[in-house]
């Protein structure tokens, strides 16, 4: 099999076309890819741990996250439901996170209790500065929430749910 000029040119076109397509795809991706800071990404100062009483979840609007104190642990928790992205408010009366969209519920530690969500609430890295004694959450890295099986913080609902009975 000799390489004719025609065959050489034909493979040249194919190769060149493939490279161009890949380059076009890559540049498109690069230009459409969301950049850091579009919604989250900043490191947020959260004050001292004493701001967050055991058994409470406090909303920090600047970072759009909850700081939950399970009694034994502090978590910086994403407000975004892992199911379909609704905002999950903390229901004071039941002491659980309750998603109004499709009824997923999570305990104070963000673990899945019921509903269609595939896992518990996502978390952000939370660090305690040993010098100043203040907390800060790094919202640029999302720690994928605990799997459905996690039962570290199981507690029955304190009271009635916040989602109205239809």
């Amino acid at each position: 099999m000799t390489t004719t000029r025609r065959r050489f040119l034909r493979s040249g076109w194919k190769l060149g076309g493939t490279i161009l397509t890949a380059a076009a795809g890559w540049t498109t991706y690069e230009s459409l890819r969301p950049l850091v800071g579009s919604a989250t990404g900043a490191t947020v100062e959260l004050g001292t741990p004493s701001n967050y009483a055991p058994g409470t979840a406090t909303y920090v609007s600047a970072a759009r996250l909850f700081v939950a104190n399970t009694g034994s642990f502090l978590y910086a928790m994403s407000q975004k439901c892992p199911h379909l992205g609704c905002r999950v408010p903390f229901c004071e009366s039941s002491g659980q996170f309750e998603c109004p969209c499709h009824g997923s519920k999570y305990n104070i530690g963000g673990e899945w209790i019921e509903g269609p969500a595939p896992r518990g609430l996502d978390r952000f890295a939370l660090t305690l500065d040993s010098k100043t004694g203040t907390l800060s959450a790094d919202t640029s890295t999302v720690i994928v929430g605990p799997p459905r099986g996690a039962k570290q913080f199981v507690t029955p609902a304190k009271g009635p749910s916040c989602i109205p009975k239809a």
Binding site: L32, A39, C86, R87, C101, H102, P164
Partner: protein
Amino acid sequence: MADVQTPPAPGDGSDGSETPTRDALEPGEAFAPGTGLAARIERSNAWRSLFRHPNIDTPRGRALQSFSNFFLHLYPVKIPARVLRMRYSFRLGFIVTVLFFILVLTGVYLMFFYTPAVGSAYGDMQHLRTGVGFGQLVRNVHRWSAHLMVLAVFLHMMRTFFAGAYKKPREFNWVIGVVLLLLTLLLSFTGYLLPWDQLSYWAVTVGTNLVQYVPFLGHSLTKLLIGGDTLGQATLLRFYALHVAVLPLLVVLTICIHIWRVRKDGFAVPRLSVGETTSAGTFEEEATAVPSRVPSNAPKDLYGARTRVLGVVDRESITAEERAVDDTVFTWPHLLVRHAVVALGVCATVLVLGVAFVAPLRGLANPNLTPEPAKAPWYFAGLQELLSHFDPLVAGLLVPAGAVLVLVLLPYIDRNPSTLARNRKVAIVVFSSLMLIAVVLTVIGTFFRGPGWRFVVPWTHWYVEL
């Protein structure tokens, strides 16, 4: 084309008067006889540069007119008479096209008053309601047409299936149709976000988050789609560009290919399976009968004379059917008049809807307040319903991807050439069951779900938002 010698076309005689023989290519007097102003204009060079052939009411005249007119040429010159019946196709493909035109017109109007910016989009919508002439009405019409278009595309697909019109040689046009269905859904979905109110914000949040269940790529894809972690300016701009430029252009291109293929393959009329005799068919008797809806004063030679027009095109590619020449009628006026009536009907319908029902506009989008319940737009509600029962991998990826795949492959799987219902029971049962499941899921998701996705009955609690 030097030698176009034709015997004089017979006068159609239907009105008793002698129609002069006017070969369209003949100059001067023969083109438009008479001395009146109209005739003089019609004879002028300028006029004839626009209209190459005069309007002569003979089969040949009509054929020439169709051939030389861009718009008429979208249609075949003659069509099988049964295509004229409403129940042949319910004109659904045409209705979709009309709705798309209405959407383009009203959409462009809306573009004059709309800025895709988080800070102003909602205000623009409010301004449209109160400060723009006919703004509210145009917005309503745009919105209801969008919903109707999704519905009409779906019904059009159902009709195509039940008529067996996806069979050889129309397999690929069915695939193009599936592409159009998907593009329509995307068009409607991207438009849904633009008002930037609570309804659109959360419906699109839920809708875009369906994508995150694609294995491995899900999260990156969702981010790419909405341009961030949550809906924001990037999302609005992306959706706007897709909605007003990318998707409409794609739809126009795809519709052109779709219609061009219909034109080449001919309208699908029932076909027998191989080896079956014509006596078993349904169209033989009808073929020779004059359709009841054809006006009785139609020129007789329409049905009597054997009018074969311009034999340059391979017969196979015009209509794949082997059929008598006699059962065809002229597209103009018979089909075109019906299309005009349908188009007017569609316009009237969306206008009445626009006057009667106001497109919803809730409060300004608030990322920190999820309304109860948050539903995806109704055409995705079935998917959302599915997701509340099954593992996300199944409901979010396998089922929808499988459904699209089955739709695309349908004409290649179902190789049975017959278009008669009794010869294709399996296909009909399987397809109908799948569609029924989809419809039931959509109805439950749309009407029977309330806060927390709890089951509600629509006659006591109404949580439907369009």
